[in-house]
Symmetry: C2
Subunit: 201 residues, 2 copies
DNA sequence: AATTCTCCCGAACGAACGTTCGGACGGGAC
DNA sequence: GTCCCGTCCGAACGTTCGTTCGGGAGAATT
């Protein structure tokens, strides 16, 4: 069970926690060594560099959240309901995986070169997914880019203040944010009424 | 003009730009020396440590944005209009001072000890200002904390994507965000009344 | 039995870091 | 002229950084 793969997973999981708590640059390889149980040199058997650890965290996390969103959207037809589904998934996933999502959100500009591009590509795909959902719904009088990033902002900011063990459950957090955004985003009374009706029962 | 005070201001301004671009930890005192024109040792005549430079940026920036918000709110009576005023001021200020606001938002957890507490106090005061505005308006069915941080999130996320020289003006950005938030937050619009009625009945 | 391969580490490498030391320069005070 | 003080710097300090080197233990392969 402590096979080669298991150790790499363990290293990544450990690094995720420490990067989330201390930040990427403030964390040394010696910190990771101490916390993972591997020696300083031993970590380099699993990983090419410190950068690569950050890359692995971000690459996997984006893949996971993207796949989860697509799975959640599967079968949902109504445009507004698809937006709501995306928001709910993103927020609940975020609240359930705060460490890696914090590393994803906060250590956004630390990678360089090929790894940076790989992660950027994943990010672009994920952002495009939401932008597509907003555009599919059509008529909002808000600037589409502003709406997309305003929504991502209110969701991704979670890592700065939300405590999963506090009084607000991930589900109510997700519901509040979905309601806040959709009520503001959807333009007509009719759609808003339909939305509440379909939501309430 | 290159008096003692002027040099300190210049050092802080230079550091703000570099911290915003590279991040606090990725910036060395030698970087600041090179960019400011002062020697490595010379900077320590104006500043006790690298930490203190970050502190000065954040402390001053919070003071500035707080004072600006209070000035903007002066004389505005209507509750909803006060919220809109706060949003507009925050967003326009953010868009007009991206570097320092990015350093304020992104390098939030880098200070320690007394400086950390000083900045935290300023932050608490500023957050309390908005929370107060939201509470003053009363009846929203959203969790007050969630509403506050959702709003700060969508506003502070600006530094990750907004380009002041792009097609979106700071004013339209501020208007869109104010509209997006207020429509979702305020329960008492005509359409929203219908909405709540159909939901409750 | 000999060889190769995977896994892993103690010790060290050179570079870069934040900070400090001792002193230089110049202008006002005595 | 001498002293002092604010301003500023070259050079160095001790530390920590990410990474590498050379090799050992043990299983697998030949």
């Amino acid at each position: 069970m402590v096979s080669s793969d298991g150790r790499l997973e363990h290293l990544i999981a450990t690094a995720t926690g420490i990067f989330a708590k201390q930040g990427y640059h403030a964390t040394s390889m010696r910190d990771l060594s101490r916390a993972s149980g591997l020696s300083l040199a031993g970590m380099y058997h699993y990983v090419r560099s410190k950068d690569e650890i950050l890359f692995l965290i971000q690459d996997r996390c984006f893949a996971e959240v993207q796949a989860g969103a697509e799975a959640a959207l599967d079968g949902v037809q109504d445009g507004a309901e698809r937006i709501r589904t995306f928001i709910r998934h993103h927020v609940v996933f975020f609240a359930g995986h705060m460490d890696k999502m914090k590393v994803l959100s906060h250590e956004d500009e630390e990678l360089t070169g090929t790894m940076r591009e790989r992660v950027r590509e994943r990010k672009r795909a994920y952002v495009d997914l939401l932008t597509g959902l907003l555009q599919d719904h059509g008529a909002s009088d808000l600037n589409p880019g502003v709406a997309t990033y305003a929504l991502f902002g209110m969701m991704n900011w979670i890592y700065t203040w939300y405590r999963p063990d506090g009084p607000v459950t991930p589900e109510s957090l997700a519901d509040d944010m979905a309601r806040l955004f959709l009520t503001g985003f959807l333009p007509s009374t009719r759609t808003a009424t339909d939305l509440v009706a379909s939501h309430g029962g």
